[in-house]
Symmetry: C2
Subunit: 407 residues, 2 copies
């Protein structure tokens, strides 16, 4: 029985853990007067420990910087999010607006302003319509409820086709805790970070100092192991709040801690894969495994090179088992290996063995490429390094979505 | 009067310089029985000094390795090229085939085998049809002539829509020399190297040790400053042959050497830009200038980040002045700068000034984006570093070409 079979999927998204309320409202930020939800609020009934991971873009947006501060201090009561406008490349006024949002949430609710995370996603370089945002916040607060998770998850969508939320029950030695999550993201998806948010809630009781390295590890194996295209956003973040409402503590260095981290990782990987499955224009979900490298980092570099290759991604779209492009992308990843050790399998069919084509049947390869989910296994030697990366295909639809985004 | 006005464009491609012959024939390598030219031969009537630049892919193809050896030794009499099959990821047999091609050229012509460069481009992972290749060589040799450059330039085309050749006259103090060139390349185009060939011929007399650093510098400013997509090929090369047939010597450290290098650079940049203009599916030609960086290398890293961004390239395709994506790509290039110093202009229209949108008229920006050639100027500070990069847009047609390449 794998450790993961301990977890049970439950309903309720970010509100599944005890003590969390959420809401989502339409404030006309996406488009004045539109009924589309675009403001979300997630609130804990007590102070939660907080940890996060953030874009490394030099042009990190004002709300991202603000929220990074909240997570560094490690305590939060609420997360406010809007879609339709990223409040990025907006200078001093953008920073004032981010802080004003935190004030508008913390004031009425009686929280310290420093415990309100703020995240914005959407178009870059346009000031937020603060009158509408403030009205959105004012409407979010009375709408807060334990059944508001779905509205919140809907309100953060941009080009996403489906809302993304999940929750798990995790049985620990002292009792059951719950983990909930919602995410958005579809394009501008690549490591460090994508144009994505993932808000994770839990009623476990855990110190911020214990939670922070867990989040780092989980993000590395999930949101930092996916791509849809090759762009890194200015805005985006994973934020995890653990409020302890279950009364069940997770102590560092225990089996409970391992189990909790494993559940967190499962949530992160599931949500990350979902972003790829709902990737802009995506018709394929491709898993790329690299093994036999000298280190895990080398393996990930090679897996990522394939995952980001436009020629591999167009070949996936065309259902073409063009392993030459896969081998080629491994070859230019910037990591040395012996070409005569390279093996590539597509959907379990070995197409390249120790540097030479195997003479596989093209019809068999073609049948594999017709599937929606495709697994590619790449072996580059006998080293212990391995990694997995997930990617989508590159389609006409991706081009259509992004050529017409602003207009 | 700029130094470049000294150069006169002339006809004749790689045969414009004295002492060069060329030919191109159809050998059925692209498709058995097809009348499409796919074998090219360029020959000098005397031993030429040789210099080259080659892909850095670990899976560098056998012919590329062979030709790198020729250029390291620095002497060549001939270059044989085929399209339709890259002879890459073909193991020991591929290496034997590359050498066999050199033999088939050197034997009948009486050259040392070590002076025959061999280049192959096309599909990866399939052995060359050597019977057809040998017949192609046998037909290329009697077809050699001083008017064969156009056939040779045609024979190396793959997804190129137009053949690419040019020639210049360069007046030096001791007399006039000529530089000719032909190139192929349209997709899999990025630095170090693209799926491209550029063969440069000259009748100048110049030592290999003087020529080699010139080629390195020129390639850096041209073929290493372009992208169409983000893939680096297994196969490809710039090879320059200077046979001295003009009787005019280029001595290092002289004004003549500067002028000759300047002409070489002009040829390389012209050919590199042509690859981008004929980029797979391209409808736009975009020049990206970055200035004010601390070093030229930093500036080039930032320019390249914009040039390779799928979101910028789809915005170009959609004629959308989405400067937010441009700023964003500068921000994730991995080079530090102060966001409040960032300025961006599109076609001379300032859209971002010192970190803030300028309030430009969208109609004016839209008119600029409708042009075929678009210039983007990015200023990141007051440093001396600057660089220029050229890129195409990312269109539906790019996806169509590459989704269906093998099938």
């Amino acid at each position: 029985v794998s450790i993961e079979s301990h977890f049970k999927e439950i309903d309720g998204g970010v509100c599944a853990p005890a003590g969390f309320l959420a809401s989502g409202v339409a404030a006309g930020i996406k488009k004045p007067g539109s009924p589309k939800l675009d403001c979300a609020l997630v609130v804990s009934d007590r102070t939660a420990t907080a940890a996060g991971a953030f874009t490394k873009n030099v042009l990190k947006s004002p709300p991202t910087k603000w929220t990074e501060g909240v997570c560094i201090r490690g305590e939060a009561r609420a997360v406010f999010l809007n879609s339709g406008n990223a409040n990025a490349v907006t200078g001093t006024k953008g920073a004032e607006d981010a802080q004003r949002i935190a004030e508008c949430v913390s004031g009425p609710l009686g929280f310290p302003i420093t415990q309100v995370a703020v995240l914005s996603t959407g178009v870059i370089g346009v000031l937020l319509p603060m009158d509408r945002v403030e009205q959105g916040i004012a409407n979010c607060i009375p709408a807060l409820s334990t059944s508001g998770a779905a509205d919140a998850a809907t309100a953060i969508m941009t080009t996403d086709l489906v809302k993304k939320e999940m929750a798990l029950e995790v049985p620990l030695s002292g009792g059951t805790v719950r983990i909930g999550a919602m995410a958005k993201g579809s394009g501008m998806i690549r490591p460090d970070m994508a144009t994505m948010f993932c808000i994770i809630t839990s009623d476990a009781q855990i110190d911020a100092d214990v939670l922070k390295p867990m989040i780092r590890t989980c993000v590395e194996a999930s949101f930092n192991s996916i791509c849809v295209d090759n762009d890194m956003s200015t805005s985006d973040a994973v934020v995890c709040l653990c409020n302890g409402a279950s009364g069940v503590a997770v102590q560092p260095g225990t089996a409970d801690a391992d189990l909790f981290e494993s559940a967190l990782r499962r949530v992160c990987i599931h949500m990350a894969q979902w972003l790829v499955r709902d990737g802009e224009g995506a018709t394929k979900f491709v898993e790329i495994n690299v093994s036999g490298a000298e280190t895990d980092v080398d393996a990930k570099t090679m897996a990522r090179s394939v995952a980001e290759s436009q020629l591999c991604k167009t070949a996936f779209a065309g259902e073409d088992a063009n392993w030459g492009r896969i081998a080629c992308a491994v070859g230019y990843a910037g990591v040395g290996f012996e070409p005569e050790r390279l093996c590539v399998s597509i959907g379990g069919l070995e197409v390249l063995y120790e540097g030479l084509p195997t003479g596989y049947a093209e019809a068999e390869a073609a049948a594999i490429m017709k599937q929606h989910d495709i697994r590619i296994d790449i072996k580059v030697g006998d080293g212990p390094g391995k990694a997995t990366f997930w990617t989508s295909d590159l389609t006409h639809q991706y081009v259509s979505i992004n050529a017409d985004y602003r207009t």
